[in-house]
């Protein structure tokens, strides 16, 4: 049965109100935690390290009290790509990836196909990494309101303003982009419903409908773009009507101050990430 509920699949960037420990953390801490963890994730390629990292990311999710199923449901639309990518890596990567301190063993060789212990590890680790990053990125946006996120980003970028980096503007651009995602999803839903009402075969059964779907995209994208431009213009007018100028002289209603939990979270994750990077080549497997 067809389903026009796109918001169901947009879990990234959707704020879920709550009162968990993660919700209450300072946005700067959350952004820093995400950065530290991302560094740790990109440095580690061993099985053990990635399992540890996944467990840590999972424990963040549990702490936030956001249903795991909700975050995972955001992967659904991207699943076909991930699977195709994983298969290609597994079959054709061969000796291109040899983890530090191991020797590549050939598991299967058949014509073009060359599966090695290295490519198996690459596929497994890539999948784990994908999950880790998804959990982190989802958590950050699921537990932080857009205005907090913007303020946090702005505060973290402010030291760079001396070298001419427009921190406030960058943060604002990011915030507006995030804010528009659900709006555009909703608008797309309306347009698709209107066209389905007129006989377009959208959202129909069958997995391999993407050829038709691609052709129909044109009919969807034209009204969607017009709508997006109109909304952007409205937003500009609304901001100008409120005399918005941005920049250095803007004051804040809420000032962030680190609490005890913030310090603890910050230090713990910093130490953990540093350790993970330091010991990346000493994992037993």
């Amino acid at each position: 049965m067809e389903d026009f509920e796109f918001l169901r699949h947009i879990t990234l960037g959707q704020y879920l109100p709550g009162d968990s420990l993660v919700h209450r953390l300072d946005p700067r801490v959350k952004i820093s935690v995400m950065l530290f963890m991302t560094v740790a994730i990109t440095f580690n390629v061993s099985y053990l390290a990635n399992i540890i990292l996944l467990i840590v990311c999972l424990s963040f999710v549990l702490l936030s009290k956001i249903p795991l199923g909700y975050i995972l449901s955001g992967v659904k639309p991207a699943l076909p790509f991930i699977i195709v990518l994983a298969i290609l890596q597994l079959l054709f990567y061969g000796d291109a990836f040899v983890p530090y301190g191991t020797e590549s063993r050939t598991i299967l060789r058949w014509g073009w196909v060359h599966v090695t212990s290295g490519s198996v590890q690459l596929v497994v680790v890539s999948t784990l990494r994908f999950l880790q990053l998804l959990f982190l990125a989802s958590l950050l946006t699921n537990t932080t309101t857009i205005s907090d996120l913007t303020s946090g980003m702005e505060a973290m970028l402010s030291p760079f303003s001396r070298v001419g980096l427009p921190g406030h503007e960058l943060a604002l651009v990011g915030a507006i982009a995030l804010r528009f995602v659900p709006i555009l999803a909703e608008q797309l839903e309306i347009i698709m419903k209107a066209q389905a009402s007129r006989g377009a075969d959208l959202g129909a059964k069958g997995r391999l409908r993407f050829i038709q779907t691609t052709r129909q995209m044109v009919a969807l994208i034209v009204p969607l773009f017009i709508d997006a431009f109109r909304r952007a213009e409205d937003l500009i007018l609304a901001m100008e009507a409120r005399c918005y100028v941005g920049g250095r002289h803007r004051t804040k209603r809420v000032r962030f101050r680190f609490q005890r939990a913030d310090y603890i979270a910050y230090v713990l994750v910093l130490l953990f990430s540093a350790a993970m990077v330091a010991f990346r080549n000493r994992m037993p497997f």
């Binding site: 309306i190 066209q195 006989g199």
Partner: protein, 292 residues
């Protein structure tokens, strides 16, 4: 009022958006209604009451998955095997601000979208487009090759409605489709819809927040509040209970309110008028009797 056979039956319908996610919203919690073939029914309710969710069930954009049943022209919409495209052709749904959903470059092409999707021969498509454009008062020769985005707001609205009428639906649903255009266009459109209903026996479901439009146009009204059917009856019956309507965040047409007020002040016995014409008569009667 000609009571034909029921063409839409809704029984204790429930619906939740984003079911099973933390953002779940309950939209319908027990709507029951029956719409007969060839009648003109109004659905009113404050915003967020569930009107749009309800009418999107009628052409299968939303399927009943929880409690409740929707049967349209003998077909149970919970059945996944029904021919949904045939149903959508039978039940034409026009959304709010339909002009925002135009996408073709030329007006004629946009209106032809539905018939083309039905796989009709070119001659037939052309004929349907011509007919649909005339139904909404757009001259076929003059408008078919105009750029869509050069039309005025009112003309775009008509073109969008024509796009649905070109499917030759048996049931036409207008979901707030006449709000937000200038008074003259609105009046003209309402007149044309009324004509379609009278001359072609089209079943019309009119969702609106304008009590005036509802009173003028429809025979029967359902009031939806908080996802439930809370009132139903002929337009006159429903508008004779203004206190209840106010409780549901609605009201009665101004002219109805004036006549109710006259009754309250003891000028006349309690009557409910539903249009200006009837209101005029009441006022004339009072003026005449006080003159003597």
């Amino acid at each position: 009022m000609d009571a034909g056979r029921p063409i839409i039956q809704v029984n204790d319908l429930h619906h939740r958006y984003l079911r099973g996610t933390p953002l779940e919203v309950v939209a319908l919690k027990g709507v029951t209604m029956e719409i007969y073939e060839g009648e003109m029914v109004g659905i009113i309710g404050r915003s967020g009451a569930g009107k749009s969710t309800l009418v999107q069930h009628f052409n299968g954009l939303i399927r009943p998955r929880e409690r409740g049943k929707v049967i349209v022209d003998g077909e149970d919409l919970a059945d996944p095997d029904i021919d949904i495209r045939a149903l959508r052709q039978k039940v034409g749904l026009v959304f709010q601000y339909p002009e925002q959903q135009l996408f073709e470059r030329f007006v004629g092409d946009d209106i032809a979208f539905g018939p083309l999707k039905m796989g009709l021969p070119m001659e037939e498509v052309r004929e349907r487009v011509r007919e649909a454009m005339e139904m909404v008062g757009l001259d076929f020769g003059r408008f078919k090759d105009r750029y869509t985005f050069t039309l005025s707001g009112g003309e775009m609205r008509r073109a969008a409605i024509a796009g649905v009428l070109a499917l030759r639906p048996k049931i036409l649903i207008l979901d707030e489709s006449t709000s937000g255009v200038d008074p003259r266009s609105r009046k003209d459109l309402l007149g044309r819809i009324d004509a379609l209903h009278r001359e072609r026996g089209l079943t019309v479901i009119f969702v609106s927040s304008s009590m005036e439009d509802v009173a003028e146009l429809v025979d029967r009204v359902y009031v939806i509040d908080d996802g439930r059917t809370v009132m139903s009856g002929t337009t006159r019956e429903v508008f004779s209970r203004p206190e209840e309507l106010i409780r549901y965040g609605l009201g009665v047409p101004q002219v109805t309110e004036i006549v109710h007020e006259l009754a309250r002040r003891g000028k006349i016995p309690f009557t409910t008028v539903v249009n200006v014409q009837e209101g005029k008569e009441v006022v004339w009667k009072i003026l005449n009797s006080s003159a003597t």
